[in-house]
């Protein structure tokens, strides 16, 4: 079971179990657990592109937080397929699953 499916299953299970038995909230827990996963995966981009994709001025790296999720995903897929050339990114993109790329694009993409 991959992590997203696992988290969904776990979230649903905890939600129903908690609501029925403990009369407590799962809001923060389920949201934050998923956020934590998304954010920690997206943080693998931060070494080169800055925390949360907010790169430094004059750092020469694309500021990926300025792209929409769709634009970001399109670029990641293009690097992975070889449609877009480059130095590091074609090599790194091939190390991520499509699902991981989607998660990263969802998290880092500029919110409309």
């Amino acid at each position: 079971m991959n992590f997203k499916k696992y988290m969904s299953f776990r979230a649903i299970a905890i939600t129903f179990f908690s609501c029925l038995c403990f009369n407590v909230s799962v809001t923060a827990q389920t949201r934050s657990a998923q956020d934590l996963y998304q954010r920690s995966l997206a943080a693998t981009c931060a070494n080169c592109h800055g925390t949360d994709g907010k790169g430094q001025e004059n750092a020469s790296m694309p500021k990926i937080d300025q792209l929409t999720s769709e634009q970001l995903l399109t670029q990641l897929k293009a690097f992975k397929s070889g449609a877009r050339t480059g130095t590091i990114m074609p090599q790194l993109a091939k190390g991520y699953t499509d699902e991981q790329m989607q998660t990263i694009a969802d998290y880092l993409g500029k919110k409309q």
């Binding site: 979230a11 389920t30 949201r31 693998t44 070494n47 925390t51 190390g95």
Partner: protein, 421 residues
């Protein structure tokens, strides 16, 4: 129904107090030892991932962060140490990390306390050790005394020694010999010695063109970016750099500046840069955490917790590496994020991410502007409980380029900000 929408809907319906161990996250004393690429990143990301609720203390003896990556440019004289220096101020003011400038003298694993050099005792519930490497000076006879008299300098931790090594090169007569010896891998920064040879050659080419460089390598071949370095040496510095593999240093005489080997004849040089074998930082070894041959700390790669001590996590160069995992600053930063997320999850009562990902990018300057890189992606393999590189991913530069030199500085600015800013 979209999964996130579904979860969000469930969340909106709930209006109850929190469950689980969220209070553990707020109450736990999390202490990070070592403010390098691993430790500083861990401190910052523990705060970020906990929405600034975790109590995080960073203990670091140095007043400022000095980057080891790029420090060979200081050895070669094209950059100053100030170009590589950053403040810890943002960790305090922007992220709420308590920063203590001190040195950890000892760890009491049972009492969960640290004794600092100042005499202060610090309690921890979770401890992250990121102490880098220590030089095994005693493995080379005479090295300690040669260091003492200034006849040899390692400069493998950026700072005053880095500047001192450049000054020795500057003081050397044109026509002299610079010798760098490389221990058997693993050691900190696999391409670092070869990049250093490039930087010294770049300096010699400009200022002392009759001088020579000996690269005395205990390994069978160049450990990283071999073809790229060999090509650069041949084309950029013809006749200046001599590479000798399987030269294992056993002794050094600081008075006569002589290097002795297991097999080969003695060699004399004017500037000696003898790198001995390395191991985990002293504090990890002294605390009994270095349980892999007494040199490196074995960890659970899901959360970087020591396999020999609960609630003590180890990051960066000190760990027993997974296959093809380099001991690099970028990798230490990556370790830190996985560990920080796992600790926040654990203290919240959540399952930790069973599929973490690490990346590595390493740039090497072959002169003051042209650069080559190596990059890799490491996905956790649950069956083998380790990180493995993804087949078909990663790789090397095709050739040195100024463009990658620009990217290298961009990488530096962003990773320094990601670590400290």
């Amino acid at each position: 129904m979209d999964r996130r929408y579904f979860l969000g809907t469930l969340g909106a319906l709930a209006a109850y107090p929190s469950i689980g161990n969220a209070t553990n996250l707020n109450k736990a004393e999390i202490v990070v030892v070592g403010g390098g690429y691993g430790g500083a990143t861990a401190a910052k990301y523990l705060r970020l991932f906990s929405n600034n609720t975790a109590k995080v203390t960073l203990i670091e003896p140095n007043a400022q962060f000095i980057s080891c990556p790029l420090s060979n440019l200081v050895v070669g004289g094209s950059r100053s140490i100030g170009d590589l220096t950053s403040s810890y101020a943002n960790l305090k003011t922007r992220h709420g990390v308590k920063v203590i400038k001190d040195y950890v003298a000892s760890i009491d694993r049972d009492k969960k306390t640290l004794k600092l050099s100042s005499g202060t005792t610090v309690k921890f519930d979770k401890l992250i050790l990121s102490p880098g490497v220590s030089m095994m000076t005693d493995k080379i006879e005479g090295l300690a005394s040669a260091n003492q008299m200034g006849a040899t300098i390692q400069a493998w931790k950026a700072g005053t020694d880095t500047v001192a090594l450049h000054q020795q090169l500057a003081a050397m007569t044109d026509g002299g010999v610079f010798a760098i010896s490389i221990p058997l891998a693993p050691y900190r920064c696999p391409p670092g010695p070869y990049e250093r040879a490039c930087q010294v050659a770049s300096y010699f080419k400009k200022y002392k063109p009759k001088s020579k460089i000996l690269v005395l390598d205990a390994n069978q071949d160049i450990v990283s970016k071999a073809a790229l370095f060999k090509k650069a040496w041949a084309e950029e510095y013809p006749g200046m750099i001599e590479y000798r593999p399987q030269f294992n240093v056993t002794e050094v005489d600081g008075k006569t500046k002589t290097i002795k080997f297991e097999v080969q004849e003695d060699i004399k040089a004017d500037v000696l840069n003898i790198l001995p074998p390395m191991r985990a930082g002293d504090i990890a070894v002294n605390a009994g955490i270095a349980n892999a041959n007494g040199r490196w700390a074995e960890v659970n790669f899901l959360n970087f917790e020591s396999t020999s001590a609960k609630d003590i996590h180890v990051l960066g160069d000190s760990i027993q590496i997974a296959p093809l995992m380099p001991k690099s600053g970028h990798m230490a930063n990556s370790h830190a994020k996985v560990a920080a997320a796992a600790i926040v999850a654990e203290l919240n009562g959540w399952d930790i991410n069973p599929a973490p990902v690490l990346t590595n990018t390493c740039y090497s300057f072959i002169d003051s502007q042209q650069v080559v890189h190596v990059a890799s992606v490491h996905q956790y393999n649950a069956a083998e409980k380790t990180f493995k590189t993804v087949a078909g991913s990663g790789g090397l530069s095709k050739e040195p380029s100024i463009l990658e030199g620009v990217y290298a500085w961009g990488w530096a600015k962003n990773i320094w900000a990601d670590t400290l800013g």
